[in-house]
């Protein structure tokens, strides 16, 4: 590092951190957001509104209903004058309705033919399937219990164990994902806007005429954001580990290395995009055009494995996908050498390629 570069980096840091709002955005916001989203979002099925249509004498059916409510998945449906079960779901007062057969479920069981009907609102597919599975189990156990039958044991027994996150805490899964999204937002956009702002204000030309080389200008404009991104890491990481109790099974050093590779890639992406933009508005919109698919292919919201190959290959070019995988692998599984090395390698390669590309773009536009 030479003196010019150090001076440049220092100037850039001061300039970014001068605005108190920016400081807040940079250091507090990611922590606040992570807490918010970590607490709020989950894929669990909860508070589904269940209604049941049955006679007051139908005690097995009443047991089924009460048991379902006791499990925590369901809450009673809002009572509205509606008697048609279909309308009950259509009007949004219930998500699922259990309908006892003619003459009651209890009597139907005695006769041996008791078609119990279940209507589920299937607009949310995963929820609907989960509700069906869950109710099936409840009906099964209730019937066995009430009729005092011992269920014949299946000759093949599966012992299922869930690894890494046995109680299926959503936060453990979501928080690394949110962390990744927040880190890319701060680093990429800052670097991009910083460069475009200089362009817009015409100060870039001044910089070029000063006795600094183009390489120094670019490094000077990007290194500060890599530093800021890395400063962010312990903040968000401590929220993850101390507030959400996300386990940290891998080595901290490896995680830092992964984060470093990712932040470099993200800053390099920002730099490259900035070479195509004339003003801040364009930069902001362009960052958006990048963020949207990047978030979608990252695996935060939708499993990548499910995508058909015709578009799945795009995920391999998404730095977020690699980093998200790395975070989950290192934090939850302890980080197998092969996997970690491969993906850090890919990220590093991306960083190098993107930096080279933006260098070339800069040289052609500047000289």
């Amino acid at each position: 590092m030479n003196k010019t570069l150090i001076g440049f980096v220092r100037k850039e840091l001061t300039q970014t951190l001068r605005d108190p709002r920016m400081k807040f955005m940079l250091f507090m916001m990611p922590m606040v957001q992570m807490t918010l989203f970590g607490v709020a979002i989950s894929n669990e099925v909860k508070n589904m509104r269940l209604a049941a249509v049955f006679d007051s004498k139908d005690y097995v059916m009443r047991d089924v209903y009460e048991r379902s409510l006791a499990g925590g998945w369901f809450v009673p449906a809002k009572s509205s004058g509606e008697s048609d079960p279909f309308r009950l779901i259509q009007s949004g007062n219930a998500d699922a309705v259990l309908i006892a057969p003619q003459g009651g479920f209890t009597r139907g069981l005695g006769r041996g033919d008791a078609p119990l009907q279940l209507l589920v609102n299937a607009t949310n597919v995963t929820q609907a399937q989960a509700v069906e599975n869950y109710l099936r189990q409840i009906v099964q156990t209730t019937v066995m219990n009430d009729l005092n039958i011992k269920a014949p044991e299946s000759p093949i027994q599966f012992d299922t164990r869930i690894l890494y996150n046995p109680s299926l805490e959503t936060a453990v899964f979501m928080v690394p994902g949110v962390m990744c999204t927040l880190m890319v937002m701060t680093t990429m956009m800052l670097a991009m806007v910083a460069i475009v702002r200089e362009k817009e204000m015409g100060t870039f030309e001044t910089l070029i005429s000063a006795p600094v080389s183009a390489t120094e200008v670019i490094y000077g404009k990007t290194i500060p954001y890599v530093i800021l991104g890395m400063v962010n890491l312990p903040l968000v990481l401590s929220v993850a580990v101390f507030i959400f109790k996300v386990p940290m099974r891998g080595s901290l050093l490896v995680l830092c290395l992964a984060a470093f590779a990712f932040v470099c890639t993200s800053v390099a992406t920002g730099t490259l995009i900035s070479t195509y933009c004339k003003n801040q508005q364009q930069a902001n919109l362009a960052s958006f055009l990048f963020m949207f698919p990047a978030m979608m292919f990252s695996g935060l919201m939708f499993p990548i494995e499910n995508m058909p190959w015709s578009i799945r290959w795009m995920a391999y070019f998404d730095p977020l996908a690699h980093y998200m995988g790395l975070l989950r692998n290192i934090m939850l599984k302890g980080g197998g050498f092969q996997y970690v090395a491969l993906h850090i390698g890919v990220l590093a390669l991306m960083a190098v390629v993107l930096t080279r590309l933006s260098f070339r773009r800069f040289h052609t536009t500047l000289q």
Partner: protein, 373 residues
Amino acid sequence: MTNSFVWARAIAIAKKEVFHIMRDPFTLALALVMPIFMVVIYGIAIDFNVKNIHLAVSDSDQSQSSRRLIETFGSSCYFIPFSAGSPVNTLADIEAENARASLIIPPRFEKDLLAGRSARVQILVDGADNSAVGSINGYVGAIQTRAAKNIAGFDPPAPYELRTRFLFNPELNSRWFVIPGLTVVVMAILSILLTALTVAREWENGSMELLLSTPVQPLEIIIGKLTPYGVLGIIAVTFVFVIARVGFGVPFVGNIFVFGAGCLLFLVTYLAQGLLISVTTRKQMVAMQFAMLTGFLPSQLLSGFVFPVSAMPPFFRYFTMIFPARWFMEISRDTFLKGSNVFDLWLPFCALTFLCVFMIRRATQKFKRDLEP
């Protein structure tokens, strides 16, 4: 102020804004290409039903029964079994992300089965990916029943029958769930982001002061600047709607006017919010961050687009009520799939109207106060 509102001036400002948009390739791309791109990609890519689960198998029994068990997994079209060797290797495969689950068959599997004892196998599921675990558990349960029937001929008669009807989406097609939600996300992004940026830019350039020294009224500026983006939003939604119906065959069973009314209300609310942001921040960089924070992220993460509102902790279930996207998400999905009428949706409509009026009031107040000292 003596002069009153004149449409010609508002139209002139709108015209100027249209030129601005046409000149800027990124704005046009964002407004017209991205919605199409999003719907197509989402429509093709998104499937919540987890398939192609790589299953690392360790078969220490190597008997006919154990092979049939593995076949049962393979023929379910959810799992792709592959042989991993020892039980420890299967674990290593999960760790290295080569497998999502593993099946460990102990050496005495067939013997136990023939002797009438219950034969146990172990299944390990990768819990690092929560979204898949639920589905895998469901499949495993179904496979157990099938395996017991096929291999051991175990098929106890059930004293009852549960007949499930999946309403509104009988084929359990994830697209029908995702695409109506996309209309909300697309509109949210376009309206809030573009307005926040465009008005903040005028402040930053100082051209807002210039505009004000002309006889143009603040209200004319607002209407002139926002109308083009409103129109863009409507065009984008129309695109999404047509692609959803024609390209992906998503049904629309509700009333188109109910949906349209919801669209308009939502659009105006978000335009007003974008205006409020830009008037408050007056800097594009900060406005962008705010727009992301209050528009983009909530519309994706807190609106029920993917993560259901009903699953949130109580505080957040109430907290999400301040986001227009949450209400419009309900209107959009219910009119698309359930065919709900206005009376079923009275709550979302009331809430949306309230938020809309509130935002417009706040934005114009702030705008006027800042302008007329």
